[in-house]
Symmetry: D2
Subunit: 469 residues, 4 copies
């Protein structure tokens, strides 16, 4: 998971500022590190580091990036916690035909093989991230291609997995989406500038107009001659957008492949109400991730929607965690139930997923302490049963509660009166306009082969649920 952004301006200006605001809008896609690279007449100025946009980009740092015509930005969701500064993107490289900066969202399934092959031919890697494999593969093609866009197109024959890329050469801004269209990427326009972004909310944040999504397999090339499209890889593979972008990752105000994320989540709630109806007095969502689906559940079931929790919005990066003894209060400091909403009520509690179950159990306890007479949990995603190899970093099944327990066991662990997950069938019905989704994490059926070699370090991940939503 990552967020990417690029901008091309016909005349030099403070393009880094647009990246900065866009990265704020994409911050939910990654909080480990972030970076911006600005191209001023071929001189690249770069600033990237571990931390949130708010921490990494001081006024001084942002101004230090100067003016330019092209810029690329990135926010990264890291997993291993090792050398986060070094793994920050965009990556910048020099090669015999020029320079390149690259930011990507996704994961290669043949990174190990590509890396080995490149190293055997003398390539030297500085990090263990996929970004370098992308960059080196493209540069390898560049040496035998007539242009950077040709090199990108050629390298897409060998790059396997889920990815959206934004690449900057000395004169061009290029975007590409993998042939399965697993990760999102869209095109916007702001005055006479073109922009590319993971999600449309980043366009909104800078006041850019949404033009359209990049199609699966499509390559977008922007330079002084305007915008053009390379469509050779379009339609080669069946569309397989990650269903979790709609259910979990993307911001509700974004539109992906012509579907409102908010509406997909409301629909998830509606279908969930059909899958697992229940008699209750109020439907509440876990803020912020469960609110849209809770509203949909309320609409479909006729049970009134309520505001069940207040989330503390002042808890920052340097919040001092309670000691072991008070750890139970940790959830409570971040999330406090509204007694007036739940006291003496039968409550339907909607969240977008149940990963390890620990947080859900604590939230349920808060509701019972606040006087809820019954708590019925509903997950707007089907159970996670299989690892994901395509960039979501939920690849260690052992830690997934649904992998190790029956639904009845989970119900008991979480401490609810009933528990229901969205059915796999309905998970495919969330969108109105688009179809073709990867549901590998529910079904174990993937659009392409899983990687043969898995980097063990990736298993030391920090499951998303831990940072309480």
């Amino acid at each position: 998971m990552s967020g990417i952004f690029g901008i091309y301006s016909p005349k030099p200006q403070r393009v880094a500022d647009y990246c900065y605001y866009a990265l704020y809008a994409l911050q939910h896609r990654g909080q480990e590190s972030c970076g911006i690279v600005v191209n001023n007449q071929g001189l690249l100025r770069s600033h990237k580091d571990a931390g949130l946009v708010n921490d990494v980009f001081t006024k001084e740092a942002l101004e230090g990036l100067g003016e330019g015509k092209i810029a690329v930005g990135h926010v990264r969701y890291g997993t291993t916690g090792i050398n986060p500064r070094q793994n920050a993107q965009p990556i910048t490289v020099n090669h015999v035909k020029g320079l390149m900066a690259l930011a990507h969202n996704g994961a290669l399934t043949n990174a190990y093989e590509l890396r080995e092959e490149l190293e055997l031919n003398g390539s030297i890697f500085h990090t263990s991230s996929d970004a370098e494999v992308f960059a080196y593969s493209i540069v390898r093609e560049r040496l035998r291609s007539s242009s950077i866009e040709e090199a990108v197109a050629a390298s897409m024959d060998v790059l396997k997995g889920a990815y959206s890329l934004i690449i900057m050469s000395s004169t061009k801004l290029i975007g590409a989406r993998d042939p399965f269209g697993m990760r999102p990427l869209c095109i916007g326009q702001l005055d006479d500038c073109w922009v590319l972004a993971s999600e449309s909310c980043a366009l909104d944040s800078i006041g850019a107009a949404f033009i359209r999504d990049v199609e699966p397999g499509e390559i977008v090339v922007i330079d002084k001659n305007g915008i053009r499209f390379d469509k050779r890889h379009i339609g080669v593979k069946p569309k397989n957008t990650c269903i979790f972008e709609h259910i979990y990752f993307a911001r509700p105000d974004s539109v992906i492949d012509c579907d409102s994320v908010h509406m997909a989540r409301r629909m998830a709630g509606q279908l969930l109400a059909e899958d697992h109806p229940v008699e209750a007095d109020v439907v509440i969502g876990v803020p912020d991730s469960g609110l849209d689906a809770a509203l949909g559940f309320s609409k479909a079931s006729g049970i009134p929607y309520g505001i069940g929790f207040i989330k503390n919005k002042y808890i920052g990066r340097t919040f001092i965690q309670p000691t072991q003894k008070d750890r139970e209060n940790k959830v409570r400091i971040k999330l406090n139930p509204v007694s007036a909403t739940v006291k003496g009520k039968r409550v339907v509690l909607v969240d977008d997923s149940i990963v390890r179950g620990t947080t859900s159990a604590r939230i349920v306890k808060l509701l019972r302490d606040a006087g809820a007479t019954e708590v019925h949990m509903r997950s707007s995603a089907p159970p996670f049963l299989y690892p994901c190899y395509f960039g979501t970093d939920i690849d260690s099944p052992e830690k997934l509660i649904a992998h190790n327990h029956t639904i009845e066991e989970i119900r008991e662990i979480i401490g609810v009166d009933s528990l229901g997950y969205l059915s796999k069938e309905n998970a495919l019905k969330l969108t109105q306009n688009s179809c073709g989704f990867c549901t590998g994490c529910f079904t174990g059926v993937y659009p392409t082969d899983p990687p043969k070699h898995i980097d063990r370090s990736k298993f030391e991940m920090s499951i998303m649920e831990e940072d309480l939503k």
Copy 2:
């Protein structure tokens, strides 16, 4: 506006930690400065500074406060911006009979006169804040009283205005609420400790049980003998709780004088729908302050409730503001409309108040840009017409849009199809259990005389609306 918290523990422990978490829960009551004072056997350790709890209290600073039996904490909503560090509370003083720390929420209307009188008798002030006037008045009484609680009781005869106080002597924790009960204060219990807090959400955050609100005029005394109450000032004045605590200031999950704040806001929405009905397709609230009332409006009107905006939760203290040219985007970066909710719809937009009108106008423009066909604004508070002298710092009528314009003019300025405010009559019906409210800011009728001398510096206030909710 401020938030205050105090704790008394029979045995020494890390009482500062409880203050820390409680101040996080009260942060919405003041973001200019904060502080904690810990009493360890009569040795006071203090840490306070300008900034949010998250910034002021590093791990080192919090640990530096050590253990103790009593602690007092404070968050302050400042207005003048001059010397915020110096005005941070709690204030600590030494006098011939001992030491004292004091934190208050509210404002004195006779501060000028008391200050003058004290200075004429040789008192020396270090700041221009009311906190010193409170402290010095109490110490003056202390010199001729048998105990600190007697001194507090005696000083309440001369202190005029709105206030809740938490005071720490070398051996006691004392709370007091002004006879009108204008500002809230409540009592909680955590294991064998007693706590006092501005709002019940602070009790929840540390897992303390809510016992009851302090009554208007009541003094609470806690020491090694337990808790006791001085009731001599109770019932002397008619109850006049600030209605804005329910409408605006308090956190929705708090309960004030036996009424849920969330429910009062829902009720405001319901009554607002009666006051100003409209035909529309969706009701949305401005996050986070308008959500409760929007839900009430939806319920009363039958118009579906929708999620109209996504608020960016990563914008921190060091966010770099857009330059003049891009200033219009400032709202958009913080708040982005969900097109799917509003496109092609007639929208009812609910907020809790309209102060200067600038922000409302920008938000309305966002909705129109997102495709709303009609926008009907509804304010869950009546128009602000008169200054408040009781601690809310909205005391400069010239800056209030409602003071200078008719409702029709405001409607035009904001750019909405219709505009309705909650009626003054209905503003008195928000609560189920309590009655007796100060509505001076709507009516110009105050429970007690306004101050004769007004500190001019207070007019250089920063109206609350500016920090977009």
Copy 3:
């Protein structure tokens, strides 16, 4: 120990900037906290905090002080480590006749009695520092005096001890030096501005001309009418300047009471060579405090002067101390011997004092490891045998090595071949122009009675030697 500075400018300008540079020059007089208060037409803006000038005054903080006609600055040498932020000076107070800011260097011997008397009359103290006792005593007099300078003059009848004061009223800058002249204070001129400073090096740092020292007991008053002097307390007491200002505290480039500090230290070295001659090959000083005396010793003895140590100048506030195991290296990281200077040589090692002896022992070991065949230690101050009650905070005899051991014992503990201290007689001969010194710490004979009540917290001091010179 503290450093103080004040400036009066006939027209408003950035007077805080001059304070800032002057405090840098006075930083050696105190590193615990610092502060500046600027008077802009009677509105005081203040910034003070625990830390070095370099840390406390960011660009933003300095600019926030704005312009003004008068400013006062302070650096503080703290001892107890409790609430350093609260004890930072200058202190600012309001009273019925106006406002006042005050910074002092020194210590009252009757602070306890004055404080008790003031408290009995209703005064309320915020801290336990002498600064408040000074301020409150002066304000008490102010209420019955016709002017602030009269109040200062009157309060000097009751204030006992060692002090130099700089006071700012709404329109005046006032300086005063105690009748014994124990702490230094001098007058300078910069264009049309008058300045006051603890040491002349602060004048140099801002390019101000040195005019003269303030005389013992003299009061200097500066306002729009220029400078004038109140001489009523001059000559009332015998001059008793602290001899340690010359030996240890002041910066060598300062001139105090017409004597160069550097020259006094060279003279100390010369007299030391007479007191304790030795046959040796090279004389070296401990940087930076022993260099001047080492040069004097070399001159008088004819033994060549050498550079014996290189001091690491990059060790800052956040230097991470070696763990216990490597603690011996701590001295070495800060101070490394120059082998070429000492190898195979009989070395005379000169320092300005031996406090606890621990650091001296480590330095001697470094020299032996570097090949010195003999090490002869010479201290350019006589042994510390008695506490100082006048602001140097060396008041706990138990921790002084000379208090508990004979010179022969100290020689053995430090591990040197011979050890010699400057004789008490010669300590009185360091200066050419001035005479009349307090030598209480060597002799136990004080110019005025020691305090009857000693604040115990002062004994938890950190002896100066620990921060290796």
Copy 4:
């Protein structure tokens, strides 16, 4: 200019701590950026950034490096100011046969050619620094060599210029010095650990014993089998150590190639007194760089040595520069003359070099203002007339005062009564034990060809003199 350090420990321990202290000792060799890489069983943890050791390495950052058997550290003297974070060393790379970290001191004269050749063969560079050229050249050899040390040896055939290298593979620590021996490198021992460092002062700082200097052309290999030496490149080229290491760069307490740096500088002063004798009353040095030579000048001339300036030791990284108007005071804030030493005296002022002349002129003015009757400037280095291509970054002759003016003109610009430089002949006589120096910057005669392609960005250098010594 850079400082490098490496350590090999037979058992895992906190090797990063030793790097940290050693880098403090080497900080004078570079202040732009610094870094440490720790090898824990082949897992590299790295921390590097722009800034001083004191700023970059927080306690958290240092502890985050964990334990390991091998570590490499680096401090960098940057010139262009572009992307300093990205250019920080040590550089870490992965290749088909393993991983490598590398830190270097020096400059390649054929970097351009090597880079071009590598890029034509597909190498991809991330930065424009020489470090990557070193690393890639060695890796290229590694692919056809049996061991990393063979690869280093082979690459030394093609790497041209001045360099000392420290390289870490997954199991070995390797050091190498270029065949001319232009940059220093030495070997030390600490318990059972081996260490390598640019200067012996770094060994001292961690308590390691100095073993010997690495010989020009020598390769040192340390692994679990102990230490061994590859001598194939020894003696191939004539020794050409940079004379400026002795005159300017190195710390006086270091010993380079068996000669004390302090003694070389004293000798420079002595020879300078022979080259340019003068009648005067006192000899003073500009702290800290001119002190050693001033002592030598005093000894040879018989003119007494004096302490002429006090340097402010509290001026840190965030010192706020005086505004244009007060810029003249900038020198004075950092450096204040001791009037007592120079007033009414004929002064010999010794410094180690005169680069642009601006600072010298300001210092001379300070002396005249302080009452010096005559000022005779003596430079302990000959005039800089030619660029240096070997890592000292004084490669733009236009900015060198000696390049554009006669000595008489310089004398006038600086404002001294006489001016003398050490003669080129005497510059070769500074050392007692070693011989063979590069004096290209005085003579224009270089040991090897200057680079054919010069990176223009290097000319935007900040001449060393600017940061006042």
